[in-house]
Symmetry: D2
Subunit: 337 residues, 4 copies
């Protein structure tokens, strides 16, 4: 009889909203993981999170945390500016890393990480595009790949948040929100995005002056397909993420309202819309973490990689320029080697 | 006790697909109407339709049909080129007319009809935008008008046909199909459309070479709202017309798949999509005709008028140019006097 | 060219809720009909309804109304007790009649009308089971008949009203509400109902003391199939009529919530449930009246007949006894000759 | 910093369909568990399952497995006849046990286990009613408990399997299938079931002679509420489990078809129905196991207990008699001490 693998010892860097969610999930729901190290630039927050996780301690310096003896793999949920150095430290030590998007905050550094990982001869970088682990996206991709819709021609995306912090401006809508559709479209269509345009309808009155909310983002792909994305982050309604693929032989839609509990009261039928991304994608996050941990125990990762992170940075860069200029902007991206 | 009104005696001009549908509906389902005259440039077709309608006879010349003694009102379903003269003849005789879209085939002549009708001092022209009589569109407009969605910011339209004749090219997709969304958006938002752009994704392989099918049409309105319209006329699936309005306080969608009969067989649940526009809009056509006839018995009309017909021509003209040039085209339209 | 048929001149007997709805529909929406005579035991109500219908006058005596020179056909919407004599007068005069359910209020008299009509050698009696004209019921019956579900084994019915008058007791729930499922089950399965049982769960607190609301009615058919019917008439919610047929090869359901206008607001998706039977079955009533009128102009009727009325009376009689006794009651019915 | 708890060492008894599913889930997806012992009366099957789980070995005798030094808790998925002795052995050793339903195969022995557990002064027995961990059931129970539906009066259940082994007779339909609705109704309404009746419509032609499939089971509760359950185990369609609660103020339904991926192809819209219970309830099983394991590490259980197992046995005993006799049968159950 073979021995069970030892637990994967994980350091979590950055324990804001996303990082503390990950730390908690890793500690309580992800099989085969022990969270040993917590790091945050705001140390009291790190202390608070570590205190709730038996076996976890705080390491103040992120690079030191990555290199701690009792760390086999790293989850990075720090601000984007910090990602480049932290991911590179993981590469240098040769341990698997799950880095929340964006991989880095500019095209050149993202591309450099792609090259750095290639130089290691291993696959160590995973980027946190959790939708690729959502059962609906997975099935939709399979349906497309199976030819069930014929050649896909158009993708319609909808991405709505009930609200965001006041400083969440039009560029952040591209880099933090639309980035998910950028990756989803690449995942579903298996090709690169080559140009971005942005339409700016009358903004909602709850948007600060000068902010464009909602917007309609138009993505063009290598082969000439088009994806549209309505991004609206102050709807006041709920969290809605919907994708419809229109193919030559039919259409398929995911993210529609679910009948989980359907009521008939006061003259109306209906149900609750997902209040936030945690409720909508909790299963996807769980699968992402479990599969990442399972792979990390074997010294690798299992999900979207450095190239996907780089491509997303490049497309969002073009998107941000399209917001600023009002023009269609071509994506500047290297050929994949 | 008052006497019941005498029946309205109607001439139907043009009895192709749409005109013979109208003639049949007027003769069998519309209260207070007698179809007395049938006209078609292809006389055998006129004879065939007239033969099935007790009391109807054929008149060979359309203008003569309009001026026949036993005609109180006219339905025009002839090719668009013929509309201008025929509508003008109705104005000259001073009788109500229901003219299928387009009102005319160019902006100048449409505008002239607007002026001609104004000169009569009466309201005699109705244009056949039947969606304004569909219960779902009516409710959606009321919901918007009531403020239930807050200020509407975006309208997403989908318009899909299972198939079209081979000669149905990209410009016809604008003038014959998108024209319905042009009117629907004006109806829902109560303002004019000021610019049109057209996106052309990879065409479906069943489209003839050089035809852009599907397309995504982008409409901008006076106040800065944006409407998108996916027009796809060779889906091979069914007839789908869907509209989602996104407002500051919520969204509303019409044209979703209906549960009229929902089956669970062979491992799948589902239902039938409307096979064609007649099935989808039969109720709207019926209401349109009944309300038009009721009004015509009182010497007027009750629905979208000459101005709506003119505006649709102007927007579609811009749309056709946008298809040809690939550019955003501003709509050339007079101010409403 | 053939002459159009003259209008059918109709007398409407009983202009309470249902009768005035019919009178109004016949006068304004049903092609080929002139309402000439209005009758009601409460004459001021008859005067009021007649005043709104050009060409209509009041006749005080119902039998006189049936026999008026300017009456070609009759719609009966008087209280059930009056039906027997009025229907018989129509048979005696040999004119078509559309009689609201119940055909009569006891089995013997209903059976006698069946015999009386047979003696005329014509088909003159139609009973107002409007669901047979609802598009969903018609499609469901066709689906069953086509074998699409295999042999149907079970029918689940739901019949809910938002509220009823205070005197609406458990027996009335059988005779006035469940009667529609009795006919629908016979229509869908094409066989007779042979026994009835009634289950009485805890009543809703808004039901008067001693009233059983809701109830579950169990119908057994000749061939051994079973139909269940939840009847709940004080839900406070809306009007819900749903039918699910369970067959050997699959299931089909009608009356599900419709997406006519689907909103997403305040964290919830949903739509309106039909507030009442008029909204739910307006189309069915219209089709019923139009087809009845079309047939009546040819001297016959086109819908459920005297036998269907008789069968419904017999089953409801058994149902009422089942309510009283708490026992399973077999239906006493003649064999069809 | 506190130390993480040691893993729970689990023995799985019985590795047929359900047991091997549990063993696999515990070994790969349930945090904090090591599967150390596998047992099955058919030893080659036990060897095969153990071989796939690092750290697991086979123990031939079930009681020996329960008492093994490296076993902290037990999952029982052996045939029902074996449950009594195995559960008792767990009680005697004082370790937590998750026993698949039925708790035992007769009322007396189930009651004895209730008493035996009481005698230990601990809560060690959990019964595998996994629906209590399904998010939809949990939300429905919360909605009822919150008063959102008013007093619940009726529960409508539907339970359909695509197929079953040939020997699955009417009594097994009660004991193995309806048992889930028995527990679900008790869970939702928080009261005991007091009587059972069974209706037997025309059986499906794929049912062996003398088998009643489908059946309609009627459950009455202490307070007078009624639950209906359509049980149909050879539908040939898919796995459908639906529950509608009808309350004084409204209704709520769970188990409706989900829009996970909704297609529009070939003139139809629709989606896949869950093919089997594993797909439908995978999340519920996972939650059940994780919560059980979390509790077992603290020496207790967290879910439906011995009393719930006993009540289900008592109601199913009455149900089986109702099938045999065609009569309403009262449930023989002790008062809860």
């Amino acid at each position: 009889m073979s021995e069970p693998l030892a637990d994967l010892r994980v350091a979590v860097l950055g324990v804001g909203l996303m990082g503390s969610y990950h730390a908690q999930a890793l500690a309580t729901r992800v099989k085969g993981v022990t969270v040993t190290v917590i790091n945050d630039f705001f140390e009291p927050k790190a202390q608070e999170v570590a205190a709730a996780i038996p076996g976890a301690r705080v390491v103040t310096d992120p690079i030191e945390a990555i290199n701690a003896e009792d760390v086999d793999a790293v989850v990075i949920a720090t601000p984007g500016k910090a990602h480049e150095d932290q991911v590179r430290a993981c590469l240098q030590r040769g341990i698997p890393v799950l880095c929340e998007k964006p991989l880095t905050t500019d095209i050149a550094s993202a591309y450099q990480l792609v090259q750095d990982e290639l130089a290691t001869g291993r696959t160590l970088i995973q980027v946190g595009f959790m939708r690729r682990f959502d059962a609906e996206y997975v099935q939709l991709r399979e349906l497309i790949a199976s030819g069930g819709l014929g050649n896909p021609l158009i993708v319609h995306c909808t991405h709505r948040n009930p609200d965001v912090p006041p400083h969440f401006d039009s560029e952040m809508m591209i880099r933090d929100s639309v980035v998910h559709e950028v990756d989803a479209v690449r995942f579903l269509l298996d090709e690169e995005i080559t140009a971005v345009s942005v339409l700016k309808p009358t903004p909602t009155s709850s948007a600060p002056a000068g902010f464009h909310d909602p917007m309609i983002v138009i993505l063009e792909t290598e082969s000439g397909r088009i994806a549209t994305d309505e991004i609206f982050v102050r709807t006041g309604v709920a969290y809605e993420v919907r994708t419809e693929v229109v193919g030559e032989k039919g259409t398929a839609t995911i993210g529609l309202d679910q009948n989980l509990i359907r009521t008939g009261t006061d003259g109306r039928w209906g149900g609750q819309i997902s209040p936030g991304f945690v409720q909508r994608f909790d299963g996807a996050y769980h699968t992402e973490l479990q599969r990442w941990a399972d792979a990390a125990r074997r010294g690798t990762v299992d999900g979207p990689g450095a190239w996907d992170g780089y491509a997303a940075v490049a497309v969002c860069e073009a998107g941000a320029e399209a917001v600023r200029t009002g023009q269609r902007v071509e994506v500047a991206m290297a050929k994949r080697s």
